[in-house]
């Protein structure tokens, strides 16, 4: 795709025109187009992306699937092993179709928790498609006889939401804070980094514990006046904590970038700081940012699990992967291993995080400016 087809010295108008057009077109291949092309060529990353999108859809569409209730316990079948039973029918069978919508909502929410309008819509769609049929305990049951398959799928919603929200939060704050600080240098950089240091120096486990507890105190006010339930506050708290590392990493990268020739050149040419930031620095630190982001999402998921380990995670009856994993760990004991209680949640969590990492690496390679135009 070389644009510099060698021509004789005597260029005619048309040739010059064509050359210029070609050059313009060449420039028109954006970073992202180039990246997506190269990403598609990277098989593992591509599969990972497909997997993640599939999984995201699955978790988003959980209410549509003929799954059992993630909260309904059946104490007669606690810790029963996976079976391939065909499934049976559930409460929806006995639900009076003529009942008014509030009754239906109430009946349904007995098997879940407070759901959004869209989820209710998806559930009624499910009733239309599957009737009252629901799956068997294909992945076994947990210590309260709840269906593991359903819990994992519903749990993925919470976990994915928490980690996405928190990661985006950290991305936005961290990248701009870090690159601005690194680029500005001098006193501003010093001040900004010292602020990060100060925030850093507060052990954030400690802060999170106290914030979550404090929020517990004021939950009524928060819920009614601000519309913030515990989960939402949770994302904010975690996100507000994770941007610090992002800012530091970005700033470190920017510090070494700003001495590179092209930035120096831009500066000599009188480009504004903002321009340099947007045109040169951000695209170039993007690879590091993406790598760090794909590390942040897993970290947030693991942090959620850690908080669940301490009993500070999401509240039952809601489920998250962390909560399921914690339930599962007590099943790992030398006397008898109820393997399904821990293996399936671990598989779901492990494969998602793995895919995220593979994708992150792929993106990194794809976005690397120095790789542009290379095979």
């Amino acid at each position: 795709m070389s644009a510099s087809k060698s021509k004789r010295f005597d260029l005619d108008e048309a040739d010059a025109e064509r050359l210029l057009r070609e050059a313009r077109e060449h420039k028109g291949i954006s970073l992202w187009q180039d990246a997506s092309r190269r990403l598609r060529r990277n098989r593992p990353s591509w599969y990972a992306l497909v997997f993640l999108i599939g999984f995201g859809l699955l978790s988003f569409l959980a209410p549509l699937l003929p799954l059992r209730s993630p909260v309904r316990s059946n104490l007669d079948i606690t810790l029963s092993a996976p079976t391939l039973d065909g499934g049976d029918s559930n409460y929806l069978a006995t639900l009076d179709p003529q009942a008014d919508s509030t009754t239906i909502t109430r009946e349904i929410e007995k098997d879940y928790w407070e759901l959004s309008g869209m989820d209710h819509g998806l559930i009624s769609l499910r009733r239309g498609i599957f009737g009252s049929w629901q799956t068997g305990h294909w992945l076994g049951t947990d210590h309260l006889g709840r269906d593991l398959l359903s819990r994992i799928v519903w749990g993925s919603r919470t976990s994915i939401l928490v980690s996405l929200a928190a990661a985006l939060c950290s991305l936005l704050i961290g990248v701009f804070y870090g690159s601005f600080s690194g680029l500005a240098g001098g006193r501003i950089d010093n001040l900004m980094m010292r602020i990060v240091d100060i925030l850093y120096s507060i052990p954030f486990i400690f802060v999170v514990i106290f914030l979550i507890t404090l929020i517990g105190d004021h939950r009524q006010v928060l819920e009614e006046e601000w519309g913030l339930d515990r989960e939402k506050v949770f994302y904010l708290v975690i996100g507000a904590v994770y941007w610090l590392t992002m800012a530091r990493v970005v700033r470190g990268q920017v510090l070494s970038l700003k001495h590179t020739e092209f930035v120096q050149a831009a500066r000599v040419m009188g480009a504004s700081t903002l321009h340099i930031l947007g045109r040169h620095i951000v695209p170039n630190v993007l690879s590091v940012v993406i790598v760090y982001l794909t590390l942040t999402i897993p970290a947030v998921m693991l942090f959620e699990a850690f908080l669940s380990f301490l009993g500070l995670g999401v509240e039952p009856p809601r489920v998250s992967w962390g909560l399921i994993a914690v339930d599962g760990t007590s099943a790992i004991n030398p006397l008898r291993i109820h393997w399904w209680v821990v293996v399936f949640p671990a598989l779901a969590m492990g494969s998602t995080l793995l895919a995220l990492n593979v994708l992150g690496d792929g993106l990194r390679d794809a976005l690397d400016p120095k790789m542009r135009g290379k095979e």
Binding site: V249, I332, M349, D365
Partner: protein, 326 residues
């Protein structure tokens, strides 16, 4: 350099002041006190306890008493008479409210060496596994080896460490009885917890190394070195590694601090009397003095480590100028 360190010291004072007051007032604003138990106390007894630990004082006075350097306790705990100095600024972190037979200084003194050792062991695991796989997969980028190493490295961040620890215990203690199940002291007892704790960081180090190495390998001076005909080994070890490890170095500061506080799960599972559990337990026990003590310790550590990281940066990357930074 001296100027840089001096500036840092000034900022340290500011940091300490902010951290201490924020944590103190945050903590005091949370419901529940150190002496609440399931058995509610008679008001008379509760008042006695409040008075004994000065919880009946106004907050500002409690804070000043805690920070020192002057002792505000006219009575002295138990009527021991007044002394002039007291509080954190005089080096006294006070008695723990939860473990009442120990001062906070005692508790930290017992736990810190253990945590440090655990941290060193896991950091060694992390660096050994992380840097080697990171370099290998950067050099063999796109190959099967790269993929395999990356998958293996991801294992560490794909599962919560309590799940990994559970599996490893079943494997190495019960199925193949090689290692002790819990406890702290012998080298054998350090292997498993160090590994479990280091795994997460190994995965991070591996990815950062790989990224950094790829970055470094595409730099001009590396190409020059390659072109000069230097052996690949020399190129990698002498030239590329230096730049390639930059992201890792900047990560080491936070990672080391993270190992200290994040080791709670591993400490619980392997029954290690380290510092990690105090970060969480002191908060949930409302052990005000211990919680403040570990927070202050953490602040000092993080601050020192970050300063060291910044110094190391200049050693690894001569382009960064400390004077400019300071």
């Amino acid at each position: 350099m001296i100027r840089f360190l001096f500036r840092r010291l000034m900022w340290f004072v500011v940091t300490m002041a902010v951290v201490m007051s924020v944590s103190f007032f945050l903590m005091k604003n949370v419901k529940g006190g150190p002496f609440d138990t399931e058995r509610a106390l008679e008001p008379a007894i509760e008042a006695n306890i409040q008075a004994r630990y000065h919880l009946d004082w106004p907050l500002w006075k409690q804070f000043l008493h805690y920070t020192g350097p002057f002792n505000l306790d006219e009575r002295g705990l138990g009527g021991s008479g007044k002394k002039l100095w007291g509080g954190v600024l005089s080096g006294d972190f006070g008695p723990s409210f939860r473990y009442r037979d120990f001062t906070v200084n005692d508790i930290i003194g017992q736990a810190l060496p253990i945590s440090a050792l655990l941290g060193v062991v896991s950091m060694m695991w992390a660096l050994a596994l992380g840097v080697s796989t990171g370099i290998a997969s950067a050099l063999r980028r796109g190959s099967g080896l790269d993929l395999a190493l990356r998958l293996a490295a991801t294992g560490g961040i794909a599962l919560p460490n309590f799940v990994i620890a559970g599996f490893l215990i079943i494997l190495f203690v019960f199925l193949i009885p090689l290692l002790p199940v819990a406890g702290w002291g012998s080298t054998k007892e350090m292997l498993l917890p160090g590994f479990c704790l280091g795994l997460v960081y190994a995965a991070y180090v591996a990815r950062l190394t790989r990224t950094g190495m790829l970055e470094a390998l595409s730099q001009d001076h590396i190409r020059t070195a390659q072109a000069k005909g230097l052996s690949p080994r020399t190129v990698v070890l002498r030239h590329a590694l230096k730049g390639g490890l930059l992201p890792v170095v900047s990560y080491l500061g936070p990672a080391t601090a993270g190992i200290l506080t994040g080791s709670l799960v591993i400490e619980r599972i392997f029954f290690i009397p380290g510092l990690g559990s105090h970060f969480v337990n002191s908060a949930s026990n409302r052990d005000y003095t211990l919680a403040m003590g570990v927070t202050i310790l953490y602040t000092v550590l993080v601050y020192t480590l970050n300063t060291v990281v910044d110094l190391a940066y200049t050693l690894l990357d001569p382009r960064i100028d400390l004077a400019e930074e300071a």
